[in-house]
């Protein structure tokens, strides 16, 4: 009986081992055989643009609603920009604001009235409640007032009323002067929409968005994909593409796999090893550009050991940001950040970089001793799951250099925002990104009015900084003057040691070789068809 058993057991054990081997090597052998030279940056010589084809773009989170006043995620605004147009928009390199639906505009002396001249050849896409009628100033008034009053995320602040001057001319009246108004108008939430459609669809409007853009809504498959098709009466250049399909793939690696297996043509938000994978793949190329999002470690100004400025300085000097960034972003994707403002913003002043003290563990140890903690202390470092690598390395450095025991608290986004907003987090790592206008960074992160919200989680309160920030938006719309004021703000912030600036992230988009004229923008927004670009498929 025993002999009989042994033979059988052996046979079946072999089958199992082969099964495992197959599964294991599944990992290895899938590394692309061909590891050709990374083509990376330069654009293949594009022939004459061809019409036709549907561009499939992967987005890394599901679009819940496209209603301009209700959407919350950045991914939703990417779809909205292909369907609707705003009055003005940022240029490709975010350096200046260019005309879109508005051809020209002027600001009153008291900076409280902005008048815009509108294009007269703009038509809405045909929908259930209108058959593609002409856009008028009346529609602009309706859309902007709707946004200022009802937008959940306040995408148009401080607009008192919108006045229709003529068929093609409107004027915005502000409660008080705000130089950042134009920046706000570029937001996806301020596109012009037809009244009949909005009221017709009611709360279903989020799934049946109608605008004046190059593509119109075709199918909204909840949680799976959104398909758009070319809008015939588009006022701008005629799109080459027949349509666009945005597919939602939440798992980043799966997104890259989908690109490599041909499920999708363009992958947004490429991070980590996927960058290397795409660079190595012959029929893919990776376009990168320094982005508008920064990462930093916030130091609590009011509670815990970091109350004392010396301790904060010690911590800042004890974190080797260069090493951390290289450790976390092993395949590129970020560079050392010096200021609480991205380089892509016109407010960036590289001369201030020098005032940020370099990595010096000995001096840091000495400063910490002076601060009253010669042998370190125990604290907590709050972070959300996606930034665990940064926290792990930072905590390790603080332990090695200052013997500070920072217990890493990985928490849900909800818990994180609750703890930090209430100022209860001694240390936390967070990111920030908004429009290129410095106000949307410095005001949100350092103005005392923002204490209690996530931006000013460390409870920073400096009256001079407050005054400067208010003057920067109220006194002038001249960027040069505003830039000088923001420079002083950043100088003071740097001296008060509020942040330990970590990484300045870049925007990376992977795409198939046959995707031509696709312009990657620093604010990771997607413009497929406008004066500067008109994407086409070379296959």
């Amino acid at each position: 009986m025993r002999k009989f058993l042994k033979g059988k057991a052996l046979f079946s054990a072999v089958t199992v081992v082969s099964m495992l081997a197959l599964a294991a090597c599944g990992g290895q052998s899938s590394a692309p055989a061909q590891d050709g030279k990374g083509t990376g940056q330069e654009q293949a010589a594009a022939g004459e643009p061809k019409d036709g084809g549907v561009l499939k773009i992967g987005l890394s989170s599901t679009a819940k609603t496209l209603d301009p006043i209700a959407y919350t995620g950045a991914y939703e605004s990417n779809i909205i920009r292909s369907i609707g147009d705003t009055l003005v928009r940022y240029s490709g390199d975010l350096s200046k604001i260019e005309p879109s639906l508005a051809t020209e505009w002027k600001v009153s002396d008291d900076m409280k009235v902005y008048t815009f001249k509108l294009r007269d050849n703009v038509y809405f896409q045909p929908g259930k409640y209108q058959d593609g009628r002409k856009m008028t100033a009346e529609d602009v008034k309706y859309s902007l007032e709707r946004s200022s009053k009802q937008s959940a995320l306040k995408r148009l602040r401080g607009v008192q009323s919108v006045e229709v001057i003529s068929e093609n001319e409107v004027a915005l009246h502000l409660e008080q002067p705000n130089a950042a108004l134009l920046a706000m108008l570029t937001d996806g939430g301020n596109i012009v929409v037809p009244r009949e459609e909005v009221e017709g669809w009611g709360d279903q409007f989020g799934q049946h968005l109608i605008g004046t853009g190059p593509f119109q809504m075709d199918k909204f498959n909840q949680d799976d994909s959104v398909a758009l098709k070319r809008a015939d009466k588009y006022w701008g250049p005629k799109p080459h593409l027949d349509g666009v399909e945005f597919k939602f793939i939440t798992d980043a690696n799966m997104m890259t796999n989908a690109l490599r297996s041909g499920d999708i043509d363009v992958v947004t938000d490429v991070k980590g090893q996927n960058r290397a994978v795409i660079e190595k793949d012959q029929n893919l190329n990776l376009q990168t550009k320094p982005g508008l999002s920064i990462e930093y470690m916030g130091l609590n100004q009011n509670e815990g050991p970091t109350k004392d400025k010396k301790v904060r300085e010690a911590i800042r000097m004890a974190v080797d940001v260069e090493g951390l960034v290289k450790g976390v972003f092993k395949w590129g994707g970020a560079e050392k950040s010096y200021l609480p403002l991205p380089k892509a913003s016109w407010g960036y002043d590289s001369s201030l970089e020098a005032s940020v003290p370099a990595f010096d563990p000995q001096k840091a140890k000495q400063l910490l001793a002076e601060g009253g903690y010669p042998d370190g202390f125990k604290t907590e470092l709050y972070v959300i799951a996606s930034r665990v690598p940064q926290a792990t390395i930072a905590a390790q450095q603080l332990k090695d250099n200052l013997n500070i025991d920072a217990e890493i608290k990985t928490v849900e986004w909800g818990t994180f925002s609750d703890v930090v907003a209430k100022g209860k987090a001694p240390l936390y790592i967070m990111g920030w990104s908004w429009y290129p206008d410095p106000d949307f960074f410095l005001y949100q992160m350092f103005h005392s009015k923002q204490i209690g919200s996530l931006g000013n989680g460390y409870g920073y309160n400096n009256p001079e900084v407050d005054k400067l920030l208010d003057r920067a938006t109220a006194e002038t719309t001249d960027e040069a003057k505003r830039k000088e004021m923001y420079g002083q703000v950043m100088k003071m912030i740097n001296d008060d040691v509020v942040h330990v600036e970590l990484g300045l992230l870049d925007v990376a988009t992977g795409m198939k070789k046959y995707v031509e004229d696709y312009q990657v923008r620093a604010d990771s927004s997607i413009f497929l068809v406008n004066e500067e670009t008109n994407v086409w498929l070379n296959k």
């Binding site: 990992g27 980043a252 090893q273 290397a276 190595k280 450790g327 799951a385 665990v388 905590a395």
Partner: protein, 299 residues
């Protein structure tokens, strides 16, 4: 000598003289079962790894070396290569055994004890107790395990203790059901009625007679569920809710490794294999145990 029995002469007993108690027959039957043997060996290795982790591991598990992270297996002394922070993968997997064993055993211990108690009460007393407890268990069962754990973890926050609590709670209904079924069966046996006729009270009947006779299926179910618990810990870590960095758990290694599968799959593959083999070990041992404890099963 007439063939009529005289008075009560002690009956000649042809039983084999040597002492043959029940225990060693179970053990002997277990050893004869090849698959159970393999299972036991795997479990033994796991115990050795976790107890002697400091000796076996080649490097301190949390020592970072960012310069050569994700290096291939075998590169400069790292038997299985390094993870994305340059920490030695082999050492982290060895230390990971501790987490898996602790979670597996404590979670099932917690869930098992509470579940068995509830099952005993529901099965033995029946009536409204049975209805209440079983409705509660249905309620817990209706909660898909993953969601229950996610909810628990978000409330209590991640961390080893909370993982054990979440997985333990999720296992209570399973044990309650198994024990209740077993108690209902044993309760009908004649020797229970005999004990009642001798005047034994409820607690004696439950703990002296019913529980010992329910132990076999409970132990088998427990071993199987330790395997389940290890997978659950890995699943929770996969969703980012498991053990907190920098502690090494197979689930968290696998979760980190997932992002580098294409170019450096060794991280995910080896942690995946560790989970697979350990769970296989417990399942094999559980299977063998069930056959050994089941009197009808003749090997």
């Amino acid at each position: 000598m007439s063939n009529q029995a005289q008075n009560i002469s002690p009956v000649s007993v042809p039983l084999a003289a040597k002492k043959k108690s029940k225990e060693n027959s179970v053990w002997r039957r277990l050893l004869k079962n090849k698959l159970a043997l393999v299972g036991m060996i795997i479990i033994a290795i796991m115990v050795i790894f976790s107890v002697f982790a400091p000796l076996i591991a080649t490097h301190p598990p949390n020592a970072m070396d960012l310069a050569n992270s994700l290096s291939e297996p075998g590169v400069d002394g790292h038997i299985l290569g390094t993870d994305n922070y340059g920490r030695d993968l082999f050492s982290r997997i060895i230390y990971g055994t501790q987490i898996s064993l602790i979670v597996g055993i404590f979670a099932i211990g917690l869930g098992g004890m509470i579940g068995t108690l509830l099952g005993l009460v529901a099965g033995y007393y029946g009536g409204k107790w049975d209805a209440i407890i079983m409705r509660l268990m249905d309620g817990l069962f209706a909660f898909p395990f993953i969601l229950l754990s996610i909810a628990l973890m978000t409330v209590l926050g991640a961390g080893l203790f909370n993982v054990i609590l979440a997985i333990g709670v999720a296992n209570i209904p399973g044990f309650a059901r198994i024990v209740r079924g077993q108690v209902l069966a044993v309760k009908e046996e004649e020797y229970i009625e005999v004990t009642r006729s001798l005047g034994a009270n409820h607690s004696r009947i439950i703990f002296h007679h019913i529980l010992p006779n329910c132990m076999a299926p409970i132990i088998v179910y427990a071993t199987m569920n330790v395997a389940g618990a290890i997978i659950s810990e890995a699943a929770l870590s996969f969703l980012g809710l498991g053990v907190q960095p920098p502690t090494a758990s197979w689930g968290s290694i696998l979760k980190d490794g997932k992002d580098f599968l294409v170019l450096s799959p060794h991280m995910a593959t080896f942690s995946g294999l560790a989970i697979l083999l350990s769970v296989l070990g417990f399942n094999l041992f559980g299977d063998g145990l069930r056959d050994a404890l089941d009197p009808k099963m003749k090997v």
